[in-house]
Symmetry: C2
Subunit: 320 residues, 2 copies
Amino acid sequence: MKPIIGIDIGGTKISICLAKKDGAILEKKELPTRLRADAKTSIKEIIDTVNLILFQHRLSPNDIVGIGVSVPGAVSPEKGVIPESPNLPGWKGVRIKDILRKKFRRPVFVNNDANASALAEKLFGIGGKVENFVYVTVSTGIGSGIILSGKLLNGASFSAGEIGHTTIIPGGPQCNCGKRGCLEALSSGTAIAAQAKRMMEAGKFSELGSYKAKPGNGRLSAEIVADAAREGDPLAVQIMRNAGHFLGIGLANVINILNPEIVVLGGGVMKAGDLVWKSMEQAIKREAWPGPLKVCKIMRSKLGEHCGDLGAISLVLMEQ
Amino acid sequence: MKPIIGIDIGGTKISICLAKKDGAILEKKELPTRLRADAKTSIKEIIDTVNLILFQHRLSPNDIVGIGVSVPGAVSPEKGVIPESPNLPGWKGVRIKDILRKKFRRPVFVNNDANASALAEKLFGIGGKVENFVYVTVSTGIGSGIILSGKLLNGASFSAGEIGHTTIIPGGPQCNCGKRGCLEALSSGTAIAAQAKRMMEAGKFSELGSYKAKPGNGRLSAEIVADAAREGDPLAVQIMRNAGHFLGIGLANVINILNPEIVVLGGGVMKAGDLVWKSMEQAIKREAWPGPLKVCKIMRSKLGEHCGDLGAISLVLMEQ
């Protein structure tokens, strides 16, 4: 039972873990993600950290099954070159697969982070019997990984599952991607914070006005809006409900197109609780077609904080 | 090279053909679709017609590869029982697969009509090299068949590809399905005719007012609107452009979710020409995510009038 190295490269931190095949994390270390000119330093730090973990566990590279690397954006699993991504400026073109393979002489598997999480759901979450499901992460952005007939749908240019940029309200609020009315511009953490800011600036009464006293350098975050909603702030309640409502429409569209067995939801916004969940469910029930709706379970991800690590190691496990 | 029997059951007619493996139609006969209490008569007529065709070509059932049957609605290919469908009242529960198998003692393959057309595209249209594509039919209703990794996506309850009932405008125009703002309520032939009627009743000036003199018992059809648009009627032009615009948004959503190599479009409304096509393309370009958009070709189906027949025989050919 050789262990696996998982590397989850995110916009703010890089998580590197050593794990067993059953998903038990033996070791986990985090690095800050260096951007732009410093990206090369991050690569060196990743290699050093993998070496350190192996050393601490008295392992040589030959003692591991392989290395799984999850990255943001549309990446070719075959080439394993980091794509252009707003979350990783300066990393574009980094041949992460080749670099790690040459260094450690073990198989390296690279894929998108949402895809990796979907595989983790299959292996460690909803279970291996489910052959057709969609994993959706609602966080700073909104992404998804699609599993059909037990296999990941990569798509013709490795960007299948971009549900965050499906259009929910034509001509609606501006999205960071340049389009308007995208799901991500309506239901992501970013959208929730922006909406709260906009409405308070427009003079809507809200206890949210006290958020400057809270942690986060006075920056209004989705977490603060969620907290305020839980405390009963009416504006915050409305904003969280709206986010859930539009999320439900987006998911209903996915359900109508793919007719999956399960939609499983992860990411920070889904921790906000029943306010988002209930209005999301209502919208799904109203907008999804009865046939696909009847068979589709909507579930919360149970992977928790290790979702990213489990995703990275799943990229190796799925190829065994 | 044994031939194949194809049976395409639609809401107004049933087409029965004998065809070669290369798609050459050797014989084709049409029956009116009997609804409700007369459905059983239709079944008998189908059997009689298959027997007649076999007799005329001096064939016994053993001389054919099998029988492919396409039907509207979400049908289990394994069970082959006709599902509830607004287009086939009275046919629900007809065990078409068992009936034909017992009668002719040959393999019978049943699937949804849009799925069957997608397979026909793979075999006789865009070509077998394309592994990931979506066939969309824009006609009285809007449906699609999805091919991923060369195989049909049936979905957990056999209703994958219901893009006609994805929500394009939340709370928008009423759809026949009971929901609001569905793609089908915005871009189908039914929607085009309804929109023209509504706008004329609201007093909008249009040459369409003369439609009562045209064929079709004074019933305003999408075809009449398309004709008027081609003659330059400004209201008709606007309606056709709007239909194309919303179709483009719906297709962009599909492109963002599935990242297909090709979207191929068939059905009567797509014959309406450049008015629909251009505004559809513009909307796709604006609403699709750049990565998936760049690799996705948007094409017209070249299957033509035999699309339904080729679909039915493809159900047999794909299983060989």
